[in-house]
């Protein structure tokens, strides 16, 4: 008997109990954009305007294929994600309640762009900011996704929070129309 068969044979489903409905989403009061920005700030991420990109002139960047070219002015484009100073990506959604970015895999979307470079810059449209993760999860496709909530961090050594342990130390979020 295969392990599959023996495991399934050992499980005697009792059935019976009904699956409770999903827990209802908590509403978010007030402006979603304002809440999104406040949560990002609390996480140690920065909400920046496009003009801040000029500060990065001369830095190397690895950008998603769907990032509009005007964002790349003054940056040196690399095709090696492991060596780039900056990863520049779009985000599919923002989640106001937690300051989370939703990045779905897809054509031209390099999963490592939001992870390997020490500085991640994400472009999010204000129109895509959802109240909470319930709405974001409901709109997921069948592709792999990642939710990013603030810069990479660890508290393994004495509970001291250190940013940028494996993923980006800096996270900039640019809001567009």
């Amino acid at each position: 008997m295969s392990d599959r068969d023996s495991i399934l044979a050992a499980i005697r489903d009792r059935g019976g109990s009904e699956l409770p409905p999903p827990w209802p989403a908590a509403p978010v009061d007030g402006s979603l954009v304002a809440r999104f920005e406040a949560e990002l700030a609390a996480l140690g991420a920065e909400v920046v305007s496009a003009s801040r990109l000029s500060e990065l002139a001369g830095a190397t960047v690895f950008a998603d294929a769907d990032v509009p070219p005007e964002y790349l002015d003054g940056l040196i484009q690399l095709d090696d994600v492991w060596r780039a100073d900056i990863g520049l990506t779009l985000a599919d959604f923002g989640i106001a309640a937690t300051g989370t970015l939703v990045l779905n895999a897809g054509p031209g979307r390099h999963r490592l762009a939001s992870l390997a470079p020490p500085h991640h810059v994400a472009i999010v449209s204000r129109r895509t900011i959802l109240a909470c993760s319930d709405a974001a999860i409901a709109s997921l496709t069948t592709r792999t996704t990642v939710f990013v909530t603030g810069p990479s961090r660890t508290a393994d050594i004495e509970g001291v929070i250190v940013r940028g342990i494996h993923g980006p130390r800096r996270l900039w979020v640019m809001l567009t129309a």
């Binding site: 499980i11 490592l112 992870l115 069948t142 494996h166 993923g167």
Partner: protein, 421 residues
């Protein structure tokens, strides 16, 4: 901690009811998960026990990289449970733990003492000495600098590894999505950069619907680390698709039983609701004093005191059920309302009936004395002589070696009582 985010009793009861549904429909949901994963291109494997799981994973590793090499390991209690690293090393692979805490554990040949914070028993000086010994950089005691030394050291592992191995926090039966949460990013690297990703998961870690994720993600984040959301939530639905520029070419899911189906059928069934948040460890007065290693098992604290004997039997692990004051704090903080104190009592009873949890000699002596007045009286007379005798003797070895019995002052209560007017 949880109450900060409104994790009321009602929310926890709801989560418990969803997990109970999973447990009473486990066979059906596992088959549904298998179908959904297969549809998504995830290859599903089943392992009845730890030996089968190790054999399976090593077979997959050999197929992916016949000459051995680096395996990037993301933190996973399931892989600890089956002692996978040891087996990988024996098979000629070099597993590299990439979570900062687990990395320190690995270079120190230590074992994790907490489900969520593996090196909670070490301080910055311990880590500093280990990193200096391993030549990770100039000696420093600054956590930021130590973390950066680990970052640069581990980067090459992510790039070199042909295989990444992870656990799974939640697998969604309806969609076949494997959900992994973390704060560091090493898990994303391990499951994205190598050509082959192998995920190992206990069969109970299922959720029925995608719509159950928000509740469970919130509960696990707030109960584990007091965060509203962890930094990363990776929702994996399969290997890289032909139109995607990166991601693994193969994703394997290994479903591990290793005693779980036996637990499912027995009196400790609700322990399988556990989502491995570690909240019971953080709150347990015994765990906090004794630390995780004292339990002698990968699962420690209140959850371990039930799970270890439930999985491996009271004969082997029943003694850990005694490591509790039964104060009930674990049940109070548990996000899925597992009745841990009730189970601990039941395990003690079971162990006692099986004749494997008798009291140690000093306690048996004490119990005999406390229930036999004449023996008690004789003992009281003998005790001063016993403590005055030169070491070594039973009262001055082991625990008693560095402690003193209280000195007797004045007459005994009994002699006062009989002599009172």
């Amino acid at each position: 901690m949880g109450s900060t985010f409104g994790d009321t009793a009602e929310v926890r009861a709801h989560a418990a009811a969803i997990k109970d549904y999973v447990l009473s429909h486990l066979g059906e949901l596992l088959v549904q998960l298998e179908e959904a994963c297969t549809r998504n291109g995830i290859q599903v494997h089943w392992a009845a026990d730890s030996a089968a799981a190790n054999k399976l994973v090593i077979g997959l590793c050999r197929a992916a990289s016949p000459t051995g090499g680096v395996v990037a390991k993301a933190k996973s209690m399931a892989t600890e449970e089956i002692h996978l690293n040891h087996h990988l090393e024996e098979a000629g692979f070099t597993p590299v733990e990439t979570d900062l805490g687990e990395f320190v554990i690995q270079i120190d040949h230590d074992t994790p003492s907490h489900i969520v914070a593996p090196i909670i028993h070490k301080n910055r000086f311990d880590v500093a000495r280990s990193f200096e010994r391993e030549h990770l950089g100039p000696y420093t005691e600054v956590p930021e600098e130590l973390a950066m030394q680990a970052r640069s050291h581990l980067r090459s592992s992510f790039q070199k590894a042909a295989i990444g191995i992870s656990g799974v926090n939640f697998a969604v039966a309806e969609s076949g999505r494997l959900v992994i949460i973390e704060n560091e990013g090493n898990n994303r690297f391990s499951t994205t950069a190598p050509r082959v990703h192998i995920a190992l998961m206990g069969i109970e870690k299922l959720l029925p619907r995608e719509a159950d994720l928000p509740l469970f993600l919130r509960l696990i984040s707030s109960s584990a680390t007091g965060q509203r959301a962890t930094t990363y939530m990776h929702g994996i639905t399969g290997p890289r698709r032909s139109d995607e520029p990166d991601g693994p070419d193969e994703v394997h899911l290994v479903l591990l039983d290793n005693g779980r189906t036996r637990v499912l059928d027995g009196e400790y069934r609700e322990i399988l609701r556990c989502i491995r948040c570690g909240a019971c460890q953080n709150t347990c007065p015994v765990y906090r004093q004794a630390s995780g290693h004292a339990y002698g098992h990968v699962y420690s604290g209140p959850i371990g005191a039930v799970l270890a004997p439930a999985l491996e039997g009271v004969r082997a692990m029943g003694f850990v059920a005694k490591a509790s004051s039964l104060c009930g704090a674990c049940e109070e903080v548990c996000p899925v309302q597992i009745p841990i104190p009730r189970m601990l009592l039941q395990l003690r009873d079971e162990a006692f009936r099986a004749g494997v949890a008798g009291d140690s000699a000093p306690w048996s002596t004490y119990a005999f004395g406390a229930t036999h007045p004449s023996a008690w009286r004789a003992g009281l007379k003998l005790l001063p002589m016993a403590t005055a005798a030169p070491a070594p003797h039973p009262l001055k070895s082991g625990w008693g070696e560095f402690r003193e019995l209280p000195h007797r002052q004045g007459r005994s209560f009994r002699s006062w009582w009989t002599a009172r007017p």
